[in-house]
């Protein structure tokens, strides 16, 4: 069974730890990676891809030194290797224009405003990973018990 990767990126260590803490219940079937900048993410996904690993979801902050979250996600959205990777923006400081770009250019799948609810974040990741599994044509039965069942049903129909 392939281990799927979730990448969380935030320049503030406290926020990053809080996200990781909240996602802990998913750690038994997903590999959760942490990054502190957009460049670190790009380096990491390059490495993961070279090893044949899959990046299912990226949860990104927006305002970060260097590349912003929307820029990062836009770059990933246009990379054919990560075309199926699902993208989540988790931010408190995105402007109106940033948000428009996040939807139109980065094609994000979900937008969370800080502070977020742990429960909702977990459900969102679960749903997105389930969609990723079907998009990639992976054998869903290997992860069945962990998946979002509504997505499973709609995909199997």
């Amino acid at each position: 069974m392939d281990k799927l990767n979730i990448i969380c990126v935030d320049d503030q260590q406290e926020v990053l730890s809080a996200v990781l803490q909240d996602l802990q219940p998913l750690a038994q079937w997903l590999n959760i990676e942490e990054c502190e900048s957009a460049d670190e993410v790009l380096e990491l996904i390059e490495e993961l891809d070279a090893e044949g690993e899959m990046v299912a979801v990226i949860i990104s902050d927006h305002v970060m030194p260097g590349k912003t979250g929307v820029e990062l996600l836009t770059e990933i959205a246009s990379d054919h290797r990560f075309i199926q990777t699902r993208k989540v923006l988790l931010t408190g400081q995105a402007t109106h224009t940033d948000t428009i770009n996040a939807i139109n250019k980065a094609g994000i799948d979900h937008y969370f405003e800080k502070p977020w609810q742990a429960e909702q974040l977990i459900e969102c990741v679960r749903t997105l990973v389930t969609k990723y599994i079907f998009d990639r044509g992976l054998d869903y039965t290997h992860y069945q018990i962990h998946l979002d069942q509504n997505v499973v049903f709609s995909q199997l129909r």
Binding site: M1, D139, T141, H142, Y143, Q144, I145, L147, Q149, N150, V152, F153, S154, L156, R157
Partner: protein, 480 residues
């Protein structure tokens, strides 16, 4: 499904056992086999059979991949166009007869496969043009809002659909209708369990109703030829009453074990019958195919020929497009092909007959053989794929049925094959038993032990009921 199985056994053993055992069989000298007159070709078939059985039990590779391995190994090792090195002794008595390569390849397109392909086309078209969901909506209406009655309605619809669609597809459809309904139940309401569990149970039972209801039925049909021929309609004349009785029992049992606290339940399906020309073609073709199947051979066509009609009609009209074609469950078709190839090799090399003859079955009580075979099948079907179970057991049962004369008063080959086939569908006590069970378990509303309780009772009762059924068929003079 595989997740639970992986933990039972060390992953290392899971791969080595299915590799080492067949290899030992392949390398052993002929004299090591306690069977008089065994040939090299037959020895290789034994090795392939063990490889298949162990791979289907331990699942080191997907079950359909095992089928492909069977077919390819047969082509390489026991076909007349196999590797030269393995054909050097050809013509010598102890070597045995090689199989024609084209017959092995033809298992990919055997009539049984075509029957299923036709079934897939019907099911795909029905889903695409929402015939299934609309029928479910209309059929569910008369059952009102009493949870008990609604459950009966859901089970009946699931049962009927799974006779023509795959059990998995039916379960997916019904569970997706049900999920929003169960969500409003109280957190501790046993009704949640009842509703989530009734669907896979009904789907598993419903599959017994027709030859295309579930792959084991079609595999059985492969061996019911000549004097034992059963047509599509004939199968239904005993299959449907059996399903009806089992369904009633299952409904009573689930209701007794898990009483719903909800007094009213409303299932709202948002959908309307499509009235486009294509949708009408789907309705008519569906009806026509089923009527032709039910008419038996009065029109000269058998079930296999009839199955090709929807394939042609839906392709011509663009109802099934080339994109839809890619979504056909080729894995299921290949899984069955592998079983047919295995049966072909066992039969054509004379191995099945040789093994059956070398075991003194005549001294065994026919009742013991019948009960033993059926219980073995039920047990296997609980732990592994129903189709793989049928793939392994059916060729042996066919050989046993024809050669064991003491079975004749009980109905001979047909009795043995039918009870074993029904048992294959009744293995449903674990989440890993069938894909419908796994889907229901993954909803989180059904615990494994709850599924086990219902599944075991229904499995044993169902097997006993199948004995009663063949006994009645025998008395009625239907089984020759």
């Amino acid at each position: 499904m595989g997740g639970d199985k992986n933990s039972i056994m060390h992953p290392y053993l899971k791969v080595t056992i299915p590799l080492v055992v067949p290899l030992l069989i392949l390398l052993a000298p002929l004299s090591a086999f306690p069977i008089e007159g065994i040939t090299i070709v037959q020895q290789r078939v034994i090795a392939i059979f063990f490889l298949a059985a162990l791979c289907w039990v331990f699942e080191p590779i997907p079950i359909y991949a095992t089928s492909v391995v069977i077919i390819v190994l047969q082509l390489l090792l026991v076909s007349n166009k196999g590797i030269l090195l393995f054909r050097l002794d050809e013509g010598q008595a102890h070597f045995g007869e090689l199989l024609p390569y084209n017959e092995i390849m033809a298992t990919f397109a055997s009539p049984i496969i075509m029957l299923f392909l036709g079934g897939f086309f019907l099911a795909m078209a029905a889903t695409k043009y929402r015939l299934d969901i609309n029928l479910a909506r209309v059929l569910l209406k008369p059952f009102g809002e009493n949870p008990k009655h609604v459950m009966l309605g859901l089970m009946l619809i699931t049962g009927i659909f799974s006779m023509f669609m795959s059990n998995t597809a039916t379960t997916v459809m019904m569970l997706s209708i049900l999920t929003p309904v169960i969500a409003v139940f109280g957190p501790q309401d046993p009704g949640k369990t009842a509703f989530a569990l009734c669907i896979p149970v009904a789907a598993n039972i419903g599959g017994i109703g027709t030859p295309i209801g579930t792959p084991p039925n079609a595999i059985a049909l492969k061996y019911l030829t000549g004097d034992n021929l059963i047509t599509f309609g004939e199968w239904m004349t005993f299959g449907i009453p059996f399903v009806a009785i089992m369904m009633t029992l299952a409904w009573l049992l689930i209701n007794a074990l898990f009483k719903s606290e909800q007094t009213k339940i409303k299932i709202n399906i948002k959908s309307r019958f499509l009235k486009t020309p294509k949708a009408i073609v789907v309705y008519l073709t569906f009806a026509l195919t089923i009527v032709l199947w039910l008419m038996g051979s009065t029109h000269g066509m058998n079930a296999y020929t009839v199955a090709m009609i929807p394939v042609a009609l839906f392709s011509i009209t663009g109802i099934i497009t080339k994109e839809d074609l890619k979504k056909i469950s080729w894995d299921v078709l290949w899984l069955v092909s592998g079983g047919i190839a295995l049966g072909l090799a066992l039969d054509k090399t004379g191995l099945a007959q040789l093994v059956v003859n070398s075991i003194p079955f005549a001294q065994f009580s026919p009742y013991m053989v019948l009960f033993g075979a059926t219980l073995l099948c039920l047990l296997m079907a609980n732990f592994m794929s129903h189709t793989a179970t049928a793939n392994l057991l059916m060729p042996i049962m066919a050989a046993l049925g024809t050669s064991m004369t003491s079975l004749a008063p009980l109905g001979g080959e047909m009795t043995l094959i039918l009870t074993v086939t029904f048992a294959a569908s009744l293995g449903m006590s674990l989440p890993i038993s069938t894909p419908p069970n796994a889907l229901a378990h993954a909803t989180g509303h059904v615990q494994s032990h709850q599924m086990a309780r219902v599944g075991m009772v229904l499995g044993v009762v169902g097997v006993l009921l199948s004995f009663v059924m063949v006994w009645i068929l025998n008395i009625a003079g239907y089984i020759r």
